[in-house]
């Protein structure tokens, strides 16, 4: 039986959802029997591949780079999963949203900097005006709220998805869980 091609993506989040995924511990071996992890911050593949069956997205869409990535990921993925509150609600990254973008840049790169304060124009992707949930940009198939979703919740969701079923997540997790 050919293995399912799985990927994980890290947008504007703290990596806590990926840490929670790693907290599956020995259950990762059960998952590994059924999937090839073809792209992830946890592996060394540089390009997001074609024909991915299942992608977990951590983080909100906050920069032009995030937006570019999530559109490409959506095109190349069969089932897209918003993993965690940042992807689902924009959560903590979204707390900058009530403020104008220039105020955010000034705060981060000028007000708190003593040596040559400047707003970076290269290497760092420009921020979008607001940090927003993934499903405001692309179609999302499964939502797993939680900050982070527990390892048990992620294991349940993955187990169901790998069996071709849609997980019933509202009983397992919630916003802020």
């Amino acid at each position: 039986m050919s293995k399912l091609r799985m990927a994980t993506v890290w947008l504007d989040g703290c990596s806590g959802c990926h840490m929670s995924f790693l907290d599956l511990d020995e259950r990762l071996l059960l998952i590994a029997e059924k999937v090839d992890l073809v792209y992830s911050p946890l592996v060394d593949v540089k390009e997001f591949p074609l024909d991915v069956d299942l992608t977990l997205v951590e983080g909100a869409v906050s920069s032009e780079d995030d937006l570019h990535k999530i559109r490409m990921v959506r095109e190349r993925t069969k089932t897209l999963v918003s993993l965690g509150d940042c992807a689902v609600t924009s959560n903590v990254p979204g707390m900058r949203n009530p403020f104008p973008l220039q105020a955010i840049y000034d705060r981060a790169y000028k007000e708190n900097v003593t040596l040559d304060p400047q707003i970076p124009g290269e290497m760092v992707p420009p921020l979008l005006a607001k940090s927003r949930p993934v499903h405001e940009f692309v179609t999302v198939d499964v939502f797993i709220p939680g900050c982070p979703p527990s390892a048990d919740t992620i294991f349940y969701a993955l187990s169901e998805l790998l069996e071709g079923r849609m997980p019933e997540l509202s009983a397992k997790t919630r916003f802020g869980a």
């Binding site: 918003s82 509150d85 689902v88 609600t89 924009s90 959560n91 903590v92 979204g94 707390m95 949203n97 009530p98 403020f99 607001k130 927003r132 949930p133 499903h135 405001e136 999302v140 939502f143 797993i144 709220p145 900050c147 997540l169 509202s170 919630r174 916003f175 802020g176």
Partner: protein, 240 residues
């Protein structure tokens, strides 16, 4: 007149139930273990029908009725859980999440919040509407309490408990529609309020993290509301 004449019989979700004549649909439903979601109603306070979560269908009228302020009538047929109502309830909750900045993960009431737990109960895993991300104040001028307007759902429990139970009427609502907000005195900082007695009842009836005690961190704000029905009862006994 014989007391038996004051009993009404009606159907809720196809079940035959009986009620005292001055009861509301919500009270009767709860007595019979029928779940109707609510956020603004609280036992011990007056009902205002603000949150609209308790809307039910009543046979013979096209308009939905708020169960918390609708009195039972003889032979009424009430439906509390149609697909249409479930859709409206989810939409109302989702709109509440978009209206202010409810960031559950960093809220003092995380895990003890009525908005959060109701969203879970109604199986909301994400919000279909675009978030507004308004700029909302946090007033920490009071010695012991904080009001965080980011997390307020305008249920007005604080307004009612302050007026009806404490008798201070420090809280009120200012503005209309999307600009409405709860205020202390004449929209002055809570800390300089001349009327606030510092009793803290408003904090404990607040369903979300909008009102909290100072010094509480994420998920630490537990609300105690069991006092309320007793206070109301004592006052009623005093009057009679």
């Amino acid at each position: 007149m014989a007391k038996a004449a004051n009993i009404k019989t009606l159907k809720i979700d196809g079940r035959d139930v009986s009620a005292r004549q001055n009861e509301t649909i919500l009270e009767v439903a709860r007595e019979n273990g029928i779940f109707i979601p609510t956020l603004c109603t609280l036992k011990g306070l007056s009902n205002v029908g603000a949150c609209r979560l308790c809307l039910v269908e009543v046979k013979g009228t096209a308009r939905l009725q708020p169960a918390c302020v609708t009195r039972v009538e003889e032979a009424m047929e009430v439906t509390t859980n149609s697909e249409r109502l479930q859709g409206y309830r989810r939409a109302i909750l989702e709109l509440l999440f978009t209206e202010r900045n409810h960031v559950c993960a960093v809220c003092v009431s995380n895990g003890h919040c009525e908005l959060q737990s109701l969203a879970q109960k109604l199986e909301i895993t994400h919000v279909h509407f675009a978030y507004r991300y308004p700029e909302a104040e946090v007033d920490a001028s009071h010695e012991r309490f904080i009001v965080d307007h980011n997390r307020c759902i305008l249920c007005t429990r604080c307004v009612r408990v302050c007026e009806e139970i404490e008798g201070a009427h420090t809280w009120d609502v200012m503005g209309r529609g999307i600009d409405a907000k709860v205020i202390t005195d004449l929209n002055e900082p809570w800390g300089s309020s001349q009327t606030c007695t510092g009793c803290g009842k408003c904090v404990h009836v607040c369903p979300t993290g909008a009102l909290s005690e100072k010094g509480k961190s994420v998920a630490e704000m537990l609300k105690r509301r069991q006092f309320l029905p007793y206070l109301t009862q004592m006052r009623e006994e005093d009057r009679s």
